[in-house]
C-alpha cells in the first residue's frame, strides 16, 4: 500500500466530523448542524454529482464526448465546499469541479458541451458566479486573487451585511501547488489580505505523479510559508468540508483575509478518460480509498441519525435516473456550433484581420455550397 492510502503525514491534524463508518466525531473548532431537509439535499447533491460523472464517462465511451475529467471520490470536497457559498460569492474552478457547477445552478449540459467540444463551457460566468474552467494548471489562482482585490475595492468585505460581504474561492489540485503562479497567488492574497479561500483538492495524484513528487511538505503547510493560514480537512467528509470552508469563507468576507484549505481526498477514477491509471497505481490503493467513500459515509451517517429512509432513497434514485436520461438526451441532441460562429468573440471590437478572414471564410463557404448545389443539380439532370 502506498503512502496515499495511509492518510496524511503523522502529526498532521485533519479536521473530521464523520469517521469512515459515518459516525459523528466531535471537534474543538468545528461543528455543523444540518436540518434533516438540508442534510438530504446534501445527499442528493452528492448522488447527482456521482451520477453526472458516471453518465459523462459512458457518453465519452460512446463517442458523444471528446473527453471527460471525472470527479468520482471527490464529491464531498466539492459539494461540502459549494454548500458553504453565498449567492454573491464567486468561484474559480479547475476542470474537475463539477460539483460547484451543479451547486451554482449551472445546467450540466453547459458543462458537457465543453467536454463534447462544442464550446469552452456554455454557462454564464456572471450569472452563476462561476468562472470558466481553467485548464492551464494554477492559472485561475491569480485571477481569483485579483477578483477578490476588486471585491475589496467595491467595499464588499467586512460590512457585516450578509447579502453584501463577498468571498472568492479558487479551486485547484495538489499538482497545481508546484506552479510558481500558485505561490504568487498565495503571497498576493496575503499581502493584500484578499477575501479568497484557496481550496486545494489533494486527490493524491497529478495524472501519474503522486503528491510526494510535488512536495516534501504537506500542502497546507506550504500556504503557511506564504503567509496564508492552512487547514487540513478530511475531503471525504462532507460535513467537515462544509464546516471548514464555511469558516474560511466567513473569515474572508469579514475582512480576515485568505485561508488555504487542503481537502484530503482521492481521485477514484482515471485522470481523464484519456488516461490509464493501471500503468502507475496499485489497485490496492484504490481499494483502500473505496473504504472511505464520501457518499457511503454520509449515507451511513444519515441512516444512523434516522434522517434517511428507503423511500427517500427510491425517490432519489428515480430523480438520478431522470437526470441521467436528460443528460444523455441533451448531449445527443447537442448541435455542432455554426462554423462561422468561431469568428464572433475573439475581440469585442472588430479586428480587421479577423474581419477579412471571416469574409474570406464565408465566401469560400458560399462557393462550396454552390458547388454542392451544382453537383446535386447535375446529378438530378
Amino acid at each position: 500500500m502506498t503512502d496515499a492510502a495511509a492518510g496524511p503525514a503523522r502529526g498532521e491534524e485533519m479536521v473530521q466530523l464523520l469517521d469512515a463508518t459515518g459516525a459523528r466525531r466531535a471537534h474543538p473548532d468545528h461543528d455543523v448542524h444540518l436540518e434533516p431537509a438540508e442534510a438530504l439535499e446534501v445527499l442528493r447533491d452528492l448522488v447527482l454529482l456521482r451520477r453526472l460523472d458516471a453518465e459523462a464517462e459512458a457518453l465519452q465511451r460512446q463517442g458523444e464526448l471528446g473527453l471527460w475529467a471525472g470527479s468520482r471520490g471527490q464529491e464531498a470536497a466539492q459539494v461540502g465546499a459549494a454548500r458553504a457559498l453565498r449567492r454573491q460569492d464567486h468561484v474559480f474552478p479547475s476542470y474537475r469541479d463539477h460539483g460547484f457547477l451543479l451547486a451554482r445552478g449551472v445546467d450540466p449540459l453547459h458543462l458537457l458541451s465543453l467536454f463534447r467540444g462544442v464550446d469552452h463551457g456554455g454557462w454564464d460566468p456572471v450569472e452563476h458566479g462561476v468562472h470558466p474552467y481553467t485548464l492551464v494548471i494554477a492559472a485561475q489562482m491569480l485571477p481569483a486573487v485579483g477578483y477578490a482585490m476588486g471585491v475589496q475595492r467595491d467595499g464588499a468585505v467586512g460590512t457585516g451585511d450578509p447579502a453584501r460581504d463577498t468571498a472568492v474561492v479558487a479551486c485547484f489540485g495538489d499538482g497545481a501547488t508546484s506552479q510558481g503562479e500558485a505561490a504568487e497567488a498565495l503571497n498576493w492574497a496575503a499581502v493584500y489580505n484578499a477575501p479568497v479561500v484557496f481550496l486545494c483538492q489533494n486527490n493524491q495524484w497529478a495524472i501519474s505523479e503522486p503528491v510526494r513528487q510535488q512536495s516534501t511538505v504537506p500542502l497546507h503547510r506550504r500556504a503557511e510559508g506564504a503567509g496564508v493560514p492552512g487547514v487540513l480537512v478530511d475531503g471525504n467528509d462532507v460535513l467537515a468540508v462544509l464546516s471548514v470552508v464555511r469558516s474560511a469563507l466567513e473569515r474572508a468576507r469579514s475582512g480576515g483575509g485568505p485561508t488555504f484549505v487542503e481537502a484530503y481526498t482521492y481521485r477514484m477514477g482515471a485522470h481523464t478518460t484519456a488516461d490509464d491509471p493501471g500503468r502507475y497505481r496499485d489497485a490496492a490503493e484504490v481499494d483502500a480509498w473505496r473504504e472511505k467513500d464520501p457518499i457511503d459515509r454520509f449515507r451511513a451517517h444519515l441512516r444512523a441519525e434516522g434522517v434517511l429512509d428507503d423511500a427517500f432513497e427510491e425517490r432519489l434514485a428515480a430523480e438520478a435516473d431522470a437526470f441521467a436520461e436528460r443528460l444523455r438526451a441533451g448531449v445527443q441532441d447537442m448541435a455542432d456550433p455554426e462554423p462561422a460562429s468561431m469568428f464572433e468573440h475573439a475581440y469585442a471590437e472588430p479586428h480587421p484581420q479577423v474581419v477579412a478572414e471571416r469574409d474570406e471564410f464565408l465566401a469560400a463557404w458560399a462557393r462550396h455550397e454552390q458547388d454542392e448545389q451544382h453537383a446535386t443539380a447535375g446529378r438530378d439532370r
Binding site: H131, V136, L142, P143, V151, E184, N187, W188, H345, H351
Partner: protein, 327 residues
Amino acid sequence: MERMPIAKAINAGLRAAMERDPRVLLMGEDIGRLGGVFRVTDGLQKDFGEDRVLDTPLAEAGIVGTALGMALRGYRPVCEIQFNGFVYPAFSQIVTQLAKLRARSRGRLSVPVVIRMPAGGGIGSVEHHSESPEALFAHVPGLRVVYPSSAHDAYWTVQQSIASADPVLFLEPERRYWEKGDVDTALAPGEVTSLHRARVLRSGTDATVVAYGPTVKLALDAAAEAAEDGTQLEVVDLRSISPLDVDTVTESVRRTGRLVVVQEAPLSHGTGAELAAQVTERCFYSLEAPVKRVGGYHLPYPAARVEEHYLPTVDRVLDAVEQALAA
C-alpha cells in the same frame, strides 16, 4: 496645445483616464512612491491613493493575473511592466488567459487590461532593457498591440487603450521618453485619430518608409536626408501592430511603388515580414521592387557599446531605400 515629452504625455493620459473613470487602476513595481523608473506614473499615487495606484510585489505573472481578475470584477487595470525583458514571467497569463477569455466565454467576459511597457533600445542599458517584443504579441489572437511614437499619440492612445474592451499591449519607445512634442489635449472624442490607424507623417513619391515606435524618428530623419539628394520618401507611422492598418500602407505603396519597413526587432517573423507579405499580396502589380526590411539582427541584444551597430540607423534605412530604388 501643450508641449511635453512622451513620458509626461503618458502620465497626463493616465491621469485623464483615472479622472474620467474611477474603475481605472494602475499596478506595477515601483510605480507608486517612486513614480516608476521612468517616472511615467509620477504623482499619481499621491493624487489617487494606494488603492488605485498599487506598488505590487515583484512578480509579473502576479501583476497581470490579478489585473485580469480585477477586470472581471469591473475594473480597468493598467499594468506597468518595468522593462520589456521582464514581461515573460507573465506570458502564460497573457497568452493563455487574457487573450482568450472573451472567446472562451463566448463574449460573456471582458478583460479590458492594458499592459504598458517601455520597449526598444538605444538607451545604453544593460541586458533585457532594450528589446522589441511586439511580434510575440501580434502573433497572438485576442490581443491588441499599440506602439505610439509621439507625445500627442502617446497621450491619446493610452486613453483609447484603457477604453478598449479588449486587452491591449501598450509599448512605449523608451529612448524617446524625453523627446518633446505638441499634444493637443483639447480634442473632442471624434477628432482623435482612431487607435489602430496608421498615419502618413510625410508625403513622398519615390518610396514608402513604414516605421513605428522608436524608428519613426529614424524614418523621418532618413526622409529629410534623402530629400537633400532629391529622393522623396513617404513616411508612414504604423501606430498599431495588431491590427495593422494595411490599407493606409498599401494606399501609399500603390503611389510610390516601393516599400521599406523599419523596426528594431529582429526581422525573422517580425512586423516587417507580415507587412511584406500583406502588401505584396495586395500591391503585386504596383510594386517595382521587393519590400525591404531594416531591423535588429538575429542576435540576442548586444552590449550597450555595440547597440548603435545593432539597431537600424539612418544609413541603413537609406541603403535599403537605395536598393529598392535600384531594383
